[in-house]
Amino acid sequence: MSQRTVREVAKPNENEKMEDIRTPFSEFWRKFKKQKTAIVAALFICLFFITAIIGPYIVPYDVAEPDYDHILEGPSSKHWFGTDAYGRDIFSRVIVGARISLAVGLSSVLVGAILGSILGLISGYYGGWIDNVIMRIADVLFAFPGIILAIGIIAILGPGLYNVVFAVAIFSTPMFARIVRGSTLAIKETVYVEAAKSIGTKDKRIMFKHILPGTFSGIIVYFTMRIGTSILTASSLSFLGMGAQPPTPEWGAMLSSGRDYLGVASHITFFPGMAIFVTVLAFNLLGDGLRDALDPKIDN
């Protein structure tokens, strides 16, 4: 008798439609698409990605070949962004530079995020002396301004783009470690983690299956913003002559080489500078939008 009542009440409503399911993603998308600035930023970043991929195949001029008949020319219909001191087309160089900037920004942050997430996860989950060691090292890295730390690392490793990636990755790591550690501390106390433990789930599975997905929203937001910062830092290092070496069309290196002509041909520095500015801004705005869309407390 009692059994029947139980079954009856629990019977699901057959009319429920599968389309009504509110997955975490649909919830995110609902909030994200309301943010116009972030959408524009996202579209720009898509364009940036496409440029980075196909850019080198569509540019009108060779980016390294000097053309001494057309040096320091201002923007014209032939050279949209003008030419530099060697007569190279700045538009082509900015386009090709997108690939370098994106590769450096993305890979350095990716390495930093993976390294930082794992360290943060271990630190937060196990606690104790492991936590102390990892977090104190992070504090030491935090104490340096990013660019100084990067210069220090490059001073040891020598200049070059790969070392820039490494340097930027190192100084992105502690921030990711802190973010993930914070979320881990909160999530590991939840009842569902306790439930997983009671089932007999191993630590590794708890960390990667139950805790890590809960930290993703924080990671994604910071990841996006960090790409902007990393592009900026990488450009700064190249500007200082520690990253990409000429004639590589890296934005920071282009700024550096145009510095001497600032008075007579400001377009040489203006266009790569704008490229850096707009790209970093777009990543930051997208990060802001993602943060608002992923925050369950903000709802409109």
Partner: protein, 322 residues
């Protein structure tokens, strides 16, 4: 009497209280203090007591979610209290837990299917994913849900349905003993009886043994075979349900039972009102822990802790009156 499925002997949990900058462990919260009981195959042992009396801590220690300070937990003849995580893992299949808050105990980022599959994956019970899927659907059916619910997320369900998911997860590994930590106290009263009936049906069909932790005496009366009453980290009385409800011996049990509402306004009943508050487990009273609030308290109660002894047939209590 058959051998008990689970035997708990002198279980203790003292939480250290850290003080000062040197983290000196000066005082201890005696959350569970010398608790002993047995659970026999197929029965339901209810564990009641007010908030903070250590009943949940006891339940969690049985699963080693909290490391016991001292004492033995003997499950199927093996002492699990000193086992390491790796040694105990295969045994976890046999002891599962149902949690109080169905909103917190399910990972919001996993589908219901993934949640229920977790014990099956962890214990490597199915090699074939189709068979595992079948088992998940079977489990959902057992708790009164439908197989298509397995692709949904916990937030799409009501509290009662979530608790059913929690029960399905607990059943997945085919356990012998289920520790239910206030499984219905977070639910509406109308849903409570459904979940309780479901648990009883499952117990009958699957030959389960329950340790049922609750503070609601009528719920415990409904589901239990035997009932233990806890006060300030100690079990003060333990006996068959009928004996306890008809003839409570310990003054605390008497007071507790007098507080159960009777759905009949014409019946006049004598309510025993306890004076004062429950003492702090940080600094429990000497002698009998209950003497500060007991109207029968004598001099001996203040000095010597009463022994936990069998006063009547299978009726244990810790009180100097008997």
């Amino acid at each position: 009497m058959a051998k008990p499925l689970l035997e708990v002997k002198n279980l203790k949990k003292y939480f250290p209280v850290k003080k000062g900058i040197l983290n000196k462990k000066e005082k201890f919260v005696r959350a569970v203090d010398n608790v002993s009981f047995e659970i026999y195959n197929g029965e339901t042992l209810g564990l009641v007591g007010e908030s903070g009396c250590g009943k949940s801590t006891t339940g969690r220690m049985l699963l080693k979610l909290i490391e016991p300070t001292d004492g033995q937990i003997i499950f199927q003849g093996k002492d699990i209290s000193k086992m390491t995580d790796d040694e105990i893992r295969p045994l976890r299949k046999d002891i599962q837990m149902i949690f109080q808050d169905p909103y917190a105990s399910l990972n919001p980022r996993m589908t219901v299917g993934e949640i229920i599959a977790e014990p099956l994956i962890v214990h490597n019970m199915y090699k074939d994913s189709e068979e595992m899927k079948k088992r998940i659907h079977e489990l959902l059916g057992m708790v009164g849900l439908s197989s298509y619910h397995s692709v949904r997320y916990p937030h799409e369900f009501s509290g009662g349905q979530r608790q059913r998911i929690g029960i399905a997860r607990a059943l997945a590994a085919k356990p012998k003993l289920i520790i239910a930590d206030e499984p219905v106290s977070a639910l509406d009263v109308s849903i409570q009886s459904q979940v309780l009936n479901l648990m009883q049906d499952l117990q009958r069909d699957l030959d389960l043994t329950y340790l049922f932790i609750a503070h609601d005496l009528s719920v415990v009366e409904h589901i239990s075979d035997r009932v233990g009453v806890m006060y300030l980290g100690k079990i003060v009385e333990i006996t068959d349900k009928d004996t306890l409800y008809d003839n409570p011996l310990h003054p605390y049990t008497q007071a507790l039972l007098s507080a159960v509402p009777i759905p009949n306004p014409r019946i006049k009943k004598k309510r025993i009102i306890l004076e004062g508050n429950i003492p702090s487990p940080l600094n429990p009273p000497r002698g009998c822990a209950f003497h500060t609030r007991c109207k029968h308290a004598k001099d001996i109660c203040k000095k010597i802790a009463p022994e936990f002894k069998e006063v009547e047939d299978r009726h244990f209590t810790a009180c100097h009156l008997y």
